[in-house]
């Protein structure tokens, strides 16, 4: 019980100022702050108060992540072990049969899902190198010291603002056989006269080519930022050693840019594994001879068309594992990048 709580000691309560038994103002402050033990207690108290506020501030985001990321993710894993009813409720335990089916380990010899994974890999191999080389060329061009370079940079960036869906609508017409320029190009390259998208040998490449275009803007931005981060002095000292143009690019820019390019390579591959919109807009089914049945599309078919929620969840989990491996790789590369600088 402190003096302030003692009803007999009204003087201390209402005298306005609490008497301090010290003279100097500094000591008075120290007295009010109390003993070290009290200070520690106050700090701990503040820490718990902060904890309460922190929980309050974090709660909206935490609740949303719990409801729309963590719980659904757990449910996906759970569903993948069950045969489900058409409304998505688990009905019969199925162990790892769906996974065996996807990876063709069930001895049935039906390997369309394994093929689907391979198609996705093939799609990435078509998109990523072409997109990287083109964006690198654009970024090098955009470092030219000429007037109005900003306009050109905006133009080179433009595809980040173009949604994959609208790009898909535009490119579906660019691939349409009755557009004269397409027909002329198809004849020139001696491709099949019917639509590029209806032909098993060209469909995947056609979608990949369109994807390259949509990815240019993003890759351009990252590579240009990487080029601009290279200190000018390196080029100047290189010039003294006789580098110029190509050799400066080959021996100064490219080595310093390699971590950025590697990192970009992985992000682009992740994006290719997640590609869905362009396949849905341009093709709208598994493609001629299943030629464009990439993983996310196979997932979509199992889930949306066939209502096989358990099986679709198993595909989703396999996709997650692949993407997780790529993400870990990405952070490894990122770590190294930071150390190099």
């Amino acid at each position: 019980m402190s003096a302030l709580d003692d009803p007999q000691n009204h003087a201390a309560r209402f005298s306005g100022a609490v008497e301090t038994p010290v003279d100097s103002p500094t000591e008075a402050v120290l007295y009010r702050l109390g003993s070290p033990a009290q200070a520690v207690a106050r700090r701990r108290n503040r820490r718990w108060q902060d904890f309460g506020w922190a929980l309050l501030y974090m709660s909206p985001a935490l609740a949303l992540f719990l409801a729309f990321t963590y719980v659904p993710f757990m449910r996906s894993i759970l569903l993948s072990f069950y045969v489900t009813t058409p409304t998505g409720a688990p009905s019969r335990f199925n162990a790892v049969n769906y996974y065996a089916r996807i990876l063709n380990l069930d001895g049935s010899g039906r390997d369309e899902y394994l093929k689907s994974i391979l198609t996705t890999v093939e799609f990435s191999l078509m998109v990523v190198p072409l997109s990287m080389i083109t964006s690198l060329a654009l970024a090098v061009l955009a470092t030219a010291r000429v007037k109005a370079i900003g306009v050109f940079r905006t133009i080179f960036t433009s595809s980040v603002a173009i949604s994959v869906a609208s790009a898909g609508v535009i490119w579906s017409l660019m691939y349409a056989p009755n557009v004269k320029v397409t027909r002329w190009l198809v004849n020139l390259l001696q491709l099949q006269p019917d639509s590029l998208l209806n032909n098993a040998s060209t469909a995947l490449a056609a979608v990949a080519f369109m994807t390259v275009w949509t990815s240019l803007g993003f890759n351009f931005i990252i590579i240009l930022a990487g080029l601009q981060a290279i200190p000018q002095e390196l080029y100047e000292s290189g010039r003294i050693d006789g580098t110029n143009g190509w050799t400066a690019f080959r021996y100064v820019s490219l080595p310093l840019l390699t971590p950025t390019l590697m990192f970009l390579c992985i992000i682009s591959t992740i994006q290719c594994f997640q590609a869905f919109t362009q396949f849905h807009v341009l093709i709208g089914n598994a493609g001629p001879d299943n030629a464009t049945n990439v993983m996310v599309y196979a997932l979509f078919t199992a889930f949306w068309k066939d209502n096989r929620y358990g099986f679709a969840s198993a595909i989703a989990v396999v996709l997650f594992v692949i993407l997780l491996a790529l993400t870990i790789l990405q952070y490894r590369v990122l770590d190294r990048r930071v150390h190099y600088q």
Partner: protein
């Protein structure tokens, strides 16, 4: 328009300007022009097809003597829902943007400024969603939204996207650059925690908030997969799903398809030109800082 792409580009311009020889300069402009033409070709193609009237065999260049610009108005009258789709996309994108700004700012503030137990746990709880791809949660999310009766509603399109791991870490990173002494001084002066966030931290963090806003708006406007799943009726479609549906219903009417697509592209192209600096910062930070 000529916004510098990164802070370093300003330094690049201010360095002593070396006049290139005329021939080399002309060559550079030629290459830049050629590259621009190739990059813009699909858009030019779309515009060309849009203005050459209804034809089943479009040519690359329209007949300049009979350009048909009324096609942009026709698109609205032919597809009665085009206006509604644009409205839907605007409502959803603005709501998601504001929501992400709010939830990210609050969570980032707690992570950056407050000292509390078990912080690493919460840190990883926010990092997790960056690792879990949207595709592997989409089935249960769809089942949830259906069970709640949220199909064909704004909340079904908005609520799942109100929090963003990217946004939280972007803002946390920025909040950490603001000296902590400012926070301690404000608290000693009796400033409450919420008031500090609202009247000190947020006004100081405008660049980061702008970056997140442009990024969130663009991503939401361009969404396709989720709106495709949770909208059934034509009037609840968003622009992206709408134009894809419109394309399959007007499969032979090229000029209208292209006009509708260009109308839908217009807001994001405008955003690119106006908010290029924010957008570029957002993309590079998102990519390079994870």
């Amino acid at each position: 328009m000529s916004a510098p792409v990164a802070p370093t580009s300003r330094a690049l311009h201010s360095s002593p300007y070396q006049a290139l020889p005329l021939a080399k300069k002309a060559g550079t402009y030629f290459l830049l022009g050629l590259a621009s033409f190739v990059v813009l070709f699909p858009l030019l193609f779309a515009f060309s097809l849009a203005v050459q009237g209804a034809t089943v065999a479009p040519t690359l260049l329209p007949d300049l003597s009979k350009l048909d610009l009324s096609v942009f108005a026709q698109a609205f009258s032919k597809e009665k829902h085009l206006g509604r789709w644009i409205l839907n996309s605007f409502v959803v994108s603005v709501a998601v943007t504001l929501g992400q700004l709010l939830t990210s700012a609050l969570a980032a503030y707690a992570l950056a400024n407050l000292r509390f137990p078990a912080k690493p746990f919460f840190f990883f709880a926010f990092l997790g969603p960056l690792m879990i791809p949207w595709e592997s949660t989409i089935i249960p999310n769809y089942l949830t939204i259906t069970a709640w009766g949220w199909k064909d509603t704004y909340q079904g399109l908005i609520v799942p996207f109100l929090a963003s791991g990217f946004g939280i870490f972007l803002l946390r990173q920025y909040f950490l650059t603001i000296p902590r002494e400012l926070y301690e001084a404000a608290v000693i002066d009796g400033c409450g925690r919420t008031r500090y966030l609202w009247s000190v931290l947020l006004p100081l963090s405008r660049p980061a908030l702008g970056t997140l806003a442009v990024y969130a708006f663009l991503n939401t406007w361009n969404q396709y997969y989720w709106p495709l799943l949770v909208t059934d009726s034509t009037e609840w479609r968003t622009t992206q799903v709408g134009i894809a549906v419109f394309r399959s219903s007007e499969i032979a009417v090229y000029n209208l398809q292209m006009a509708a697509t260009l109308i839908v592209l217009f807001p994001t192209l405008l955003l690119l030109i106006l908010g290029q600096r924010q957008l570029v910062r957002g993309l590079t930070e998102g990519a390079l800082k994870g």
